[in-house]
Amino acid sequence: MNHAILEVDGAVRRFGKRIALAGVSLNLDSRKILALVGPNGSGKTTLLKILAGFLKPTSGCVRVFGMDPFAFRARVMVDARFAFAPPAWYPQLTARETLTFLVGIGNGAVDRTDRARISHVLDSVGLLERADDRVRVFSFGMRQRLALAQAILPTPKLLVLDEPTDGLDPLAILELRAVLRRLRDEHGVAILLSSHLMTEVEHLVDTMAVLHEGSLIFNGPPTELLRDGQCLRLALDGTTDVVARTIALMREEGVVVAHQENGYVTMPVGSITLAHAGKLADRCGAVLKEFHEQRPTLEAALLDRLRTARERPPSSSGSTTPSRTDEC
């Protein structure tokens, strides 16, 4: 039976009365990168901890490699790597010792090939020259690089990174992006990352899941979110009456006008053609000065989504009182 690498179905997690996750569902297959996006306290880390088997969902079904991660955490971790933020290391050990032991814990022993791979990975994250320094003297960015190094050693089938770009310089972020792409494309690794950096998400991921107050408010490719945020923007020149008449005429023609202010009119993309808009304006004595599709940045589209979710009544944002069930 084929499973997605990661399956979350109606996952709910409560901490006392507070609902951290309110029925989240998402999947991740191999060779895909999924970004988990949302404001602080939206439930991202809670979801990652559930996937790591650190927390149990109050209800709902969570499967990693087809297994319950809380009950079979050690088996899940054979093929999964997690790097949580902020990266926590043993300050008294060196970077090389840390990696040697973490690899050895999984393998039972560390042979010459493993040692060569450790050096190679340390080199690839830019830590080879500091490999024998104790972690206590590492900067936050270096600790983050070490977190990435341990996460890809050995190459997993599932890689989960919590805020992997935090503390990294722009060059390191570029390198990280290249590493993640290579893991996905060459090794077929499924990658789940939580991030605040929308440029990162836009350029890297296949799918993004947006969490807001524990609810999933968007789950799809970033292009879809961008498309949803696109609109047609028209500028009409003329007296107030003329502009109002033109807009009224457009509505009569079945055009959905989303917003209008000072002669500027926004409407969904494809609502009207340039020729038709010009004709209607002309008929009412107005001049069509601008006609263009407005493409928001991913950040703006996300903020728009979040704003909409915030304005929605609580019942529709998933803050119900779920009860414990066994849905798996």
Binding site: F15, K49, A52, G53, F54, L55, K56, R73, A74, R75, M77, V78, R81, F82, A83, F84, P86, A88, W89, Y90, Q92, L93, E97, F101, L102, G104, I105, G106, N107, G108, A109, V110, Q150
Partner: protein, 278 residues
């Protein structure tokens, strides 16, 4: 591999050095105490420097057994609690428990390895303390036969005489015996460290509980509670310093202490295996 990892972490943590220096310092202070006691009590009128009694009673072995008595009752339980408390709570506080759990390691393996490291550390600390006590006794006073008399410390209920070699054998046996005594505070601290998320709290709570139980076990008013307190059996190792050791009693008390330790460990394991890592 995990065992080597834990041992390396322990050796680099500085705790062994702090423990060694503290234990050695405690012994030096004990020696100063013995040295000044006679001077203070007699106004400096005694020839012998260390106690009221003459050299036929007091020697390096007497110093070692009294130092060991105080060490096992008061100082070593603190180090046992520190070691037990810093195993799981420290990992939780630092977030490194996530690093460990994000590897294919079962919770029983983590638990047992950490326990083994703490027990090894404890056994070495007890052995080190005993060895240094004997060494200081030898260098400062010199060894001889060991004579013990009934007194306020209840070292013995009737006078005991052990030759030097008999006494040294008793000291050798006292090492594992005292380690068993100290397993109870260590496992208690281990238990607390699976509940609290800060090692300081784990150690503080454990030491406080130990001291309260120690006092309760010593107060006559609570005599009915004594069988249920592990601190009531903590000094059983003194039974080894008899010319005729009553083995059934010694073994029974050792088993009771081990039973207390197992009980604390069972609770600790239950908690650790089921707890969530928030």
């Amino acid at each position: 591999m995990l065992m080597r990892f834990e041992m390396l972490k322990l050796s680099r943590s500085g705790r062994p050095v702090v423990a060694a220096v503290s234990l050695a310092l405690f012994l030096v202070l004990m020696l100063v105490g013995f040295y000044t006691y006679a001077q203070n009590e007699t106004g400096g009128q005694v020839d012998f420097r260390y106690t009221f009694e003459n050299r036929s009673y007091f020697n390096g072995l007497t110093f070692a057994i009294y130092a060991f008595y105080f060490g096992v009752a008061m100082l070593l339980p603190v180090f046992a609690a520190i070691e037990g408390g810093s195993q799981i709570a420290a990992e939780t506080a630092a977030g490194t428990i996530h690093t460990l759990l994000a590897r294919p390691l079962s919770r029983p393996k983590i638990f047992l390895t950490k326990l083994a490291v703490a027990v090894i550390f404890l056994a070495l600390a007890v052995g080190f303390f005993l060895l240094i006590a004997l060494l200081i006794g030898l260098l400062a006073v010199g060894w001889g036969d060991l004579n013990l008399y009934p007194g306020v410390l209840q070292m013995t209920s009737r006078p005991q005489h052990l030759t030097q070699s008999e006494a040294l054998v008793a000291f050798a046996m006292a090492w594992p015996a005292a380690t068993i005594t100290l397993l109870a505070p260590l496992t208690l601290s281990f238990l607390v460290s699976t509940w609290v998320r800060n090692p300081v709290n784990a150690v503080g709570v454990s030491v406080s509980v130990y001291l309260v139980l120690y006092v309760i076990a010593e107060v006559h008013f609570f005599r009915d509670l004594r069988p249920f307190l592990f601190t009531s059996y903590g000094s059983y190792w003194r039974g080894l310093f008899r010319s005729d050791v009553y083995w059934p009693g010694v073994l029974q008390d050792a088993c009771k202490l081990l039973a207390f330790s197992m009980f604390f460990l069972a609770l600790a394991y239950r908690r650790f295996s089921r707890r969530e890592e928030t």
